[in-house]
């Protein structure tokens, strides 16, 4: 599997570290709502198909990347720097209070 790092170009997956579900937004640090924190810390989406993930190019420039990957085919359809991708996060699951 190759991931095209926006800085380094296409690199083998062995240079990357999976850093989890990219559909999460850290709750307000002052929040004491345990449901919200539980969801953030433990709930992970596990779709069969397109998934928003965070990968770190740990064996390269070390930037964290927001990667859209199809979990069935490994096709990576988009990659951007995670720091620029904040607006892409969807946390609808937590808004409805449902557990993953």
């Amino acid at each position: 599997m190759l991931i095209t790092c926006p800085y380094c170009g296409p690199r083998d997956v062995s240079e990357y570290t999976y850093q989890g579900d990219g559909n999460r937004t850290r709750p307000d640090p002052a929040s004491t709502d345990q449901e919200v924190w539980n969801a953030y810390v433990y709930d992970r989406l596990n779709p069969a198909g397109e998934h928003h993930e965070i990968w770190q190019h740990s064996g390269g420039c070390r930037a964290h990347l927001a990667v859209t990957r199809n979990t069935l085919t490994h096709v990576v359809s988009s990659v951007s720097f995670a720091r620029d991708a904040g607006h892409k996060k969807s946390d609808s699951r937590r808004k409805t209070g449902a557990k993953a």
Partner: protein, 195 residues
Amino acid sequence: MVEQESPLKPVWKPGTRGNFSDGVGVYLSETAPGSIVQLAAWHGEEKAIIAAIKKVAGLTLPDGAGGGAATGTKAAFGFAPGKFLVVDEQEGLVAAFAKSVKTETGTVTDLSHGRTAIRITGPKAEWVLAKFFAIDFSLTAFPVGAGRSTVHHDIFAQIQRSAPTQFDVYVFRSFARSFWTALCHASEEVGYEVK
């Protein structure tokens, strides 16, 4: 001033080894620069860092990922978003950058002791490095002056192509001896000279 000790000392064996049926494939050396400095720009301040490199080191870096430049005594290249490695044969580069890079522009980090610079030169340099790193070393994909960040198992490496058949590999000092040993081993096939 106390000289820096090379981490390669016990495994540093000048001379030629390996298969020379096609001449010397690669020359291996440690460049032991006096200064290795990391500069990091805050988001949007990359141009200011490039300007500082121009001012302090006299090197003109092209825009874009991995852009770099090298002269006989100095070198600089981008290796990550907003991050650059600047190298000088002489000591004192950190102090110079500390003056010219302001807090609002970015940071200056001294790595003069923390990284070991290993140079591999020769017609088979690309071939030998391709044994270690999964990156494209061809001249079109990796032009002169450019830098790359990559890894060989646990050994992180920042690599600059300082001439058409010459690469400078910056590795963590603690891994330098292991990497050097592996590099010599891999170079036997094409014949190598340590100098």
